[in-house]
């Protein structure tokens, strides 16, 4: 958990240029972290690369918060 969260957080900080302290599990990419739709698509792409997995479009659409991303990745592993 900690490791996944750490890696996800790093990607979000790099990609969205937000403060690490703001990347909380309940934070919404669009509402809290200032991401637009394309940013979210890109985040998903980077998560795919980082965790060496494929996230289907249907699943990707359900990933709205940091917690959603972390849970999804852990459930797949």
């Amino acid at each position: 958990m900690a490791d996944t969260l750490e890696r996800v957080t790093k990607i979000i900080v790099d990609r969205l240029g937000v403060d690490e302290a703001d990347v909380k599990l309940e934070a919404s990419f669009k509402e809290d972290l200032g991401a637009d739709s394309l940013d979210v698509v890109e985040l998903v792409m980077e998560l795919e690369d980082e965790f060496d997995m494929e996230i289907s479009d249907e699943d990707a659409e359900k990933i709205a918060t940091v917690g959603d991303a972390v849970n999804y990745i852990q459930n797949q592993q």
Partner: protein, 246 residues
Amino acid sequence: MLNDKTAIVTGASRGIGRSIALDLAKSGANVVVNYSGNEAKANEVVDEIKSMGRKAIAVKADVSNPEDVQNMIKETLSVFSTIDILVNNAGITRDNLIMRMKEDEWDDVININLKGVFNCTKAVTRQMMKQRSGRIINVSSIVGVSGNPGQANYVAAKAGVIGLTKSSAKELASRNITVNAIAPGFISTDMTDKLAKDVQDEMLKQIPLARFGEPSDVSSVVTFLASEGARYMTGQTLHIDGGMVM
């Protein structure tokens, strides 16, 4: 000018696509020569590009088939590792009057000429977004702007390409990917040679520059759109038609 850039040109075994592939290579690009049927012709283009000292591969893919397109992108990345330029050129005609047009004539043209552009655009977007740069150039047609009797399917697809160009331009601009279209007029190729002589004569009368275009008249504009000089243009449709439609 385009040194070490990777360009994918669909439908590049002959006609306008061939000329585009050769012109991009002349400007320095390595080229993926996509074809659907004519492997021998595609290999000729590849050989010609290699003789200029650039790299080239021929890749068979039906652009209307997303899996084919995906495989083409994978192969491109495994050989060249970047995709800087995509030229959506592949196209067919199945002309008929609306009253006589069969469903498969409509579907084939829409699937290759319009859905094919969508498939290829979608497939390269991931790589171009990562690179934070890319050029997509869609080959529409002047009849997509003006309409043309006997070509409802082709015109609908080519007009669709102009709309698709504008939407993709707006979606991708923030990632430094530009998307423009060209609308060639009457260009002498295998595709237009099939037209009846009287139709050709009638068309010539409507061209202020008083000649049919050559594939190189089109590929020079594509090379410009792929170049650094066109960096501040996106979502545009350039008419290359000798002034036919203004």
